[in-house]
């Protein structure tokens, strides 16, 4: 199966490993990621205002490119997924936004939200299947105690994102178990790490990160995984001490599949 792939700005730079292991693991699991040509940055935060249209156009262009190829669209970064999925929902549900975006873009055929958007983890759950993934594991991560950090953007608002139960998600824990590790469930796994606030206010992000890390440590996690470059940065940089190791989920995926070079 071939999917259109939107890596987003950070996967081309500071989060190269997130991208690299997503691609090679996809190959090993039997699906292909075909990068969208000339994509633009999605903006990293969803423009909530009804009168903002320019800030949504990069997402519409990407969605329309995938539509042109007749492919579903896959993202790996939580923020890209959040923004593009919500803009797609606007294009489906909101006539005013749809009309203005199409008037602006002057596409050959209007875009009306036809493309299906998947997060990479959804592909693993819904297309590959965690049972099949388990069978493909060459180096089970036995004995490792791994906490899933969902953060906010993968889950909320659940009415639009429809990724998992926003208050009690299980997808990343199921993923961890499929790789042979122990999944540590801790209360703060779906609370915000401070997001963009860490640029100007590190201490404030730090108090949020401390709560998350303390909660994970208390429950026995020895490492944390995330799908978001900003979460990874905040979890590593903000907060008091760098207590737990933090990785991208694709790193442990590639490791378990025997594809990670040390």
């Amino acid at each position: 199966m071939i999917y259109s792939y939107y890596p987003g700005c950070t996967l081309k730079n500071k989060a190269k490993v997130l991208d690299k292991y997503a691609r090679i693991s996809a190959q090993a699991l039997g699906f292909e990621l075909e990068e969208i040509e000339e994509w633009q940055c999605c903006g990293a935060v969803y423009p909530q205002a009804t009168d903002e249209i320019a800030t949504k156009l990069a997402s519409v262009r990407v969605l329309n490119s995938a539509k042109g190829k007749g492919q579903d669209l896959v993202t790996v970064c939580s923020a890209c997924h959040h923004v593009i999925k919500r803009v797609n929902d606007d294009m489906r549900q909101n006539e005013d936004i749809r009309t203005r975006a199409n008037n602006y873009l002057q596409l050959e055929e209007p875009y009306t939200g036809e493309t299906q958007v998947f997060h990479y983890l959804e592909l693993l759950r819904d297309k590959v299947g965690f049972d099949t993934l388990k069978e493909k594991v060459k180096n089970p991560l036995t004995g490792r105690k791994i906490g899933a950090y969902y953060g906010c953007m993968l889950l909320r608002p659940s009415s639009v994102i429809q990724f998992d139960d926003a208050e009690n998600p299980t997808i990343i824990e199921d993923f961890i178990r499929a790789l042979g590790a122990e999944a540590i469930i801790y209360p703060y796994r779906n609370e915000c790490c401070g997001g963009y606030i860490s640029l100007k206010e590190k201490e404030l992000a730090g108090t949020m990160v401390d709560k998350i890390m303390d909660s994970a440590t208390y429950k026995g996690a020895e490492e944390i995984i995330t799908a978001c470059p900003l979460c990874l940065y905040n979890l590593k940089k903000s907060g008091e001490a760098n207590k737990l190791k933090v990785h991208y989920f694709t790193e442990i995926l590639a490791e378990a599949l025997g594809l990670k070079d040390e």
Binding site: C9, G43, A49, T50, R156, G195, I197, K237
Partner: protein
């Protein structure tokens, strides 16, 4: 007390597409908010201020710069009010005024370290500047 301003409140409602009358003042949004301690006007109060046309105070509020857009308030509101959208609308009314950007490119170099992800800069500029 600042003068009530129905026109501005109407603009907030339009930009946000939020119907503040749906709020039943249960406070769940504020209870869910990870930035609660930092906010001078808390999410549930924010809704009341808009409802009561007190937008000038909101435009001066620190809450505009403390809201993380984590959507906990949106997810957990039993009445689907979406307080985050109101905060976003007022924040935009401020930064759309000349000279009101909360982050200027000149400020950025000293905020950087070598691991800052591009996503952080992109999102901060989107939230703090025109």
């Amino acid at each position: 007390m600042q003068k009530a301003n129905t026109e501005q409140a109407q603009l907030v409602k339009e930009i946000s597409n939020v119907d503040t009358r749906k709020c039943m003042k249960c406070g769940k949004c504020s209870a869910s908010c990870p930035s609660y301690e930092e906010m001078d006007i808390r999410p549930h109060q924010f809704v009341s201020y808009v409802q009561n046309n007190k937008v000038n105070e909101l435009m001066e509020s620190t809450s505009l710069w403390k809201c993380l857009s984590c959507f906990a308030c949106v997810e957990r509101c039993p009445r689907d009010v979406k307080p985050a959208r109101l905060i976003e609308a007022v924040r935009l009314m401020v930064i759309r005024q000349k000279g009101q950007n909360y982050l200027l490119p000149d400020e950025v170099p000293e905020l950087l370290d070598e691991e800052v992800p591009q996503q952080l800069l992109a999102s901060a500029f989107r939230k703090y500047s025109k």
